[in-house]
C-alpha cells in the first residue's frame, strides 16, 4: 500500500486541454490571440477584437471541459477530480486576463477595459450554461461569437460606464449561479452531445437546414460531400446568401472591406469545419470502398482530390463575382486585386485540403489547420489590398497551381 501521490495543479494539463481536440481548438486559438494582444497594442480596433476573441475562446475551452465532465459518469465519485480540472481552467482564465490587461495598460485606453469585462461576462455565461446544459454548446457559442464580433465591428469603443455594470453582473452570476442549475451533473445525453459535437465540428448549421436545395451540389462534389455530409452544400448556400445580402447592403453603404474580411473568415472557418468533420468520420472509407463506383482505393482518393479542386474552383468564382459586384457600384474596378483575392481564396482551400490529406492525427491536424487558417486569411486579404499589378497576379496564380498540385500529390497519403 502507499499514500496518495502528491498532485501538482498542472498534472494532466496537456492531456486534458491540448489532446482533446474539442477543447484544444479553442484553447490554442485563445492562447495565440492572447499573446497577439501585445503586438496589437498599436491598433485599438484590432486589440478590441483580439481581447474579445481570446477571452471568449478561453471560456469556451472551459465550457467544453465542463461538457466532458458531465459526460464522465464516474467523475462525481472521484473526490477532487472535477476541482482539479476546473482549477486548471481557472488558471488559463487568469492568465489570459492578465495578459490582456497588460496590453490594455500598454495601449493606454480605458475603454478597452469595458471590452475585457464584457468578454468575461459573456464568457462566464457560456461556461455556466454549458456546465449544466451540454446541448446548448453550439447555439450559445455561435450566438456569443457572432454578437460580440458584431459589437466590436459596429461600436468603435465601448463606453466606460459599462465596466462597473459588467463587473457587478459577473459577480452576481458567480455568487448566485448555484441557485439556478446543478453544475457538472452527469446526464444521459452528455456523452452523445460530446461525441456529436466532436464529429460535426460544432457545425452552426442545423442538420436539416436547406437540405432540399443542396442535393445537386452534393452530387457535383461527391465524394467530398460524402465525407463532410450535407453540411457542405448548406455551407455553400450560406456563403452565397451572405454574398447576396452583402452586395445588396453595399449598394447603400460602402462596406467592401468589411464584407471581404467576413467572407474570407466565413470561408476558411467553413473549410476548417469541413476538414475536421471529415477526419472524424474515417470509418466512412470502408463504406465507400464497398460502393460499386470505384475500382480501387486509389481511384477514390483521386476522385476526392478532384472534388476538392472543383470546390476550390467554385470558391474562386463565387469570390470573384462577389467582389466585382461589391466594387462596381463604387466605380473602382480593381480587376487585379479581385482576381488575386479569388485565387488566394482558392489556393487557401486547396492548401487546407492538402494538410488534411497528410495529417491523420487529429491533434496535429487541428494545429496545422489553425496555422493555415491564419495564413490563408492573411494571404487572401493581402491580395485584395496589394495585388494591383500583373506580377502579383502571376505569383498568386503560380501559387494556386502549386497548391492544386500539392493537393493532388498528397492525396495518396490519405
Amino acid at each position: 500500500m502507499m499514500q496518495a501521490s502528491k498532485r501538482t495543479w498542472y498534472q494532466g494539463v496537456v492531456s486534458f486541454w491540448l489532446k482533446d481536440v474539442g477543447c484544444a481548438i479553442y484553447l490554442i486559438a485563445a492562447i495565440i490571440t492572447t499573446l497577439l494582444c501585445f503586438i496589437a497594442t498599436g491598433s485599438e480596433d484590432l486589440l478590441e477584437l483580439m481581447i474579445m476573441f481570446s477571452i471568449i475562446c478561453m471560456y469556451t475551452a472551459i465550457a467544453w471541459q465542463s461538457i466532458r465532465l458531465q459526460a464522465t459518469e464516474w467523475q462525481s465519485l472521484v473526490v477532487g477530480y472535477r476541482k482539479h480540472v476546473m482549477f486548471q481552467g481557472k488558471v488559463f482564465i487568469v492568465f489570459s486576463n492578465l495578459i490582456t490587461l497588460l496590453s490594455i495598460i500598454i495601449a493606454d485606453n480605458i475603454n478597452l477595459l469595458a471590452t475585457l469585462t464584457l468578454a468575461n461576462l459573456v464568457g462566464i455565461l457560456i461556461w455556466f450554461l454549458n456546465r449544466s446544459f451540454s446541448h446548448l454548446f453550439i447555439s450559445v457559442c455561435n450566438f456569443s461569437f457572432f454578437t460580440t464580433t458584431l459589437v466590436c465591428v459596429l461600436i468603435e469603443q465601448l463606453p466606460v460606464w459599462l465596466i462597473p455594470v459588467n463587473v457587478v453582473a459577473f459577480i452576481v452570476i458567480v455568487l448566485f449561479h448555484k441557485r439556478f442549475t446543478p453544475a457538472y451533473k452527469w446526464r444521459p445525453d452528455s456523452l452523445v452531445n460530446y461525441r456529436n459535437g466532436l464529429q460535426s465540428g460544432w457545425s452552426p448549421v442545423p442538420s436539416g437546414f436547406l437540405s432540399n436545395y443542396g442535393s445537386s451540389i452534393n452530387k457535383g462534389l461527391f465524394p467530398l460531400s460524402y465525407f463532410v455530409g450535407a453540411s457542405l452544400s448548406q455551407y455553400l448556400i450560406l456563403i452565397a446568401l451572405f454574398c447576396a445580402v452583402a452586395v445588396t447592403a453595399n449598394l447603400f453603404i460602402n462596406i467592401i472591406e468589411h464584407v471581404i474580411f467576413v467572407l474570407t473568415l466565413l470561408l476558411f472557418t467553413i473549410v476548417t469545419l469541413c476538414l475536421w468533420s471529415k477526419i472524424q468520420k474515417q470509418n466512412s472509407w470502408e463504406l465507400l470502398f464497398t460502393l460499386p463506383i470505384y475500382n480501387s482505393s486509389q481511384s477514390v482518393k483521386l476522385a476526392l482530390s478532384h472534388s476538392a479542386l472543383k470546390l476550390a474552383g467554385m470558391v474562386a468564382i463565387a469570390c470573384f463575382i462577389t467582389v466585382v459586384a461589391l466594387v462596381i457600384p463604387h466605380q473602382e474596378l480593381l480587376i487585379f486585386n479581385t482576381l488575386g483575392y479569388a485565387l488566394g481564396c482558392a489556393a487557401g482551400v486547396l492548401f487546407s485540403f492538402a494538410i488534411s490529406n497528410v495529417c491523420k492525427n487529429i491533434n496535429l491536424l487541428s494545429v496545422f489547420l489553425c496555422l493555415s487558417f491564419g495564413l490563408n486569411m492573411g494571404l487572401a486579404n493581402y491580395m485584395f489590398e496589394n495585388a494591383d499589378n500583373l506580377f502579383m497576379l502571376v505569383l498568386i496564380s503560380a501559387y494556386t497551381v502549386m497548391m492544386a498540385g500539392l493537393n493532388r500529390f498528397t492525396v495518396r497519403y490519405m
Binding site: M1, M2, Q3, A4, S5, K6, R7, Q11, G12, S15, F16, L18, K19, D20, R68, A71, T72, E73, W74, Q75, S76, L77, V78, V79, G80, Y81, H84, W186, L191
Partner: protein, 278 residues
C-alpha cells in the same frame, strides 16, 4: 447484523411514462458478490447508476455506506468503485499518466495490485488510451476502480468486451477482492457462465422488477421447471416466477412431490434466464 453496504428500499423510477424500476428492494452486504442478470432495457444500468446518485429515484430510498446515495460524503465516495458500461474520461492520456492522476485522488491506492493487473492484462503503460481497444479500455477502467480496494464495487457489464481468458482472470480477481477485503460487489452481466463462476448471489431483473434475489446455490437447488397437463395444478406452495400453458418456473421447491406434475427439471442459470424471458 452487519450494516449493508448498499441498500435499495422500495425504489421506483419512471422515464417518459415508462416504469424502469419498480419497487426494488435489495441489500448488498460485505462479502456478497451479486450478479445482476436481465435483458437489455430491463433496468440494470438505471439500478446501478441510481446507487451512485447519478439518477434520483422517484420513490424509495437508496443508502450507500449508511448515507443517502445522492448525498454521499467524500469519505464514502473513496470507498466506492464504479465501472460504467461506456468507459470514458481519460481520452488524450497515456495509460501511465491517467493512472498517475487517478491514483493521486486515492490515499489507499495499491501500487502492487496496479502493476500486477497491468502485467496480467498486458497493458503497456506508455500506450495512449485513444489507441486502446474497447476491451483494453475496459480493463484499464477496472484497474482504476479496483486498485484502491473499494468496500463497494459497482460494475456495469464489466467484462462484456474482454476475451474469455481475461474475463476468467478478472472474475477470479473480483472474487478474491470480495473475500480478502470483505467488499460487496454488485455487477451486471449478460454472460451467465461468468455470473455462475463468481457470484454468491443472483438478482434477476425483468422489466424493472426484481424477480428473484437469492444465493446462487439456493437458486440452483430450489428453482425448477414444472411441466404439467392440467392448468389447474396446485403450485400455491411455491413462488411462481413464470407460468405458461403447460409449464411453470417455480421457486422454493425442496424435493417434495407435486401432484399433477409430468416432470420437474432443474435449470442452469442460462436456461432459467431464457425460460423467464420466453
Amino acid at each position: 447484523m452487519t450494516r449493508p453496504l448498499l441498500s435499495y428500499k422500495n425504489v421506483s423510477k419512471q422515464y417518459n411514462q415508462r416504469q424502469i424500476l419498480n419497487n426494488i428492494n435489495l441489500n448488498v452486504e460485505p462479502g456478497m458478490v451479486i450478479g445482476l442478470l436481465g435483458k437489455n432495457g430491463a433496468g440494470k444500468t438505471t439500478l446501478l447508476r441510481s446507487a451512485l446518485g447519478l439518477i434520483t429515484p422517484d420513490q424509495g430510498e437508496i443508502q450507500v455506506l449508511g448515507e443517502l446515495s445522492h448525498q454521499l460524503s467524500a469519505s464514502s465516495k473513496q470507498k466506492i468503485g464504479y465501472v460504467a458500461q461506456q468507459t470514458f474520461g481519460y481520452e488524450g492520456f497515456k495509460i501511465a499518466d491517467a493512472l498517475a492522476l487517478h491514483r493521486s485522488f486515492y490515499p489507499n491506492w495499491d501500487m502492487q495490485l496496479e502493476a500486477k493487473w497491468l502485467a496480467r492484462f498486458e497493458l503497456n503503460s506508455k500506450d495512449a488510451i485513444n489507441d486502446l481497444s474497447i476491451g483494453q479500455r475496459q480493463t484499464l477502467a477496472l484497474i482504476m476502480a479496483m486498485a484502491y480496494r473499494p468496500q463497494l464495487l459497482i460494475l456495469d457489464e464489466p467484462v462484456a468486451s474482454l476475451d474469455p481468458i481475461a474475463r476468467r482472470e478478472f472474475m477470479s480477481d473480483l472474487f478474491d477482492l470480495a473475500l480478502d477485503s470483505g467488499s460487496g460487489i454488485l455487477f451486471s452481466s449478460h454472460i451467465t457462465s461468468d455470473i455462475e463462476r463468481v457470484a454468491s448471489h443472483i438478482a434477476l431483473i425483468k422489466q424493472g422488477e426484481l424477480l428473484l434475489l437469492d444465493e446462487l446455490d439456493v437458486i440452483r437447488d430450489t428453482v425448477r421447471k414444472v411441466s404439467f397437463k392440467e392448468s389447474t395444478i396446485d403450485l400455491s406452495a411455491y413462488t411462481i416466477l413464470n407460468r405458461q400453458q403447460n409449464c411453470a418456473i417455480i421457486y422454493g421447491y425442496t424435493g417434495e412431490t407435486v401432484v399433477g406434475a409430468l416432470a420437474i427439471n432443474t435449470l442452469s442459470l442460462e436456461q432459467l434466464f431464457v425460460e423467464l424471458h420466453g
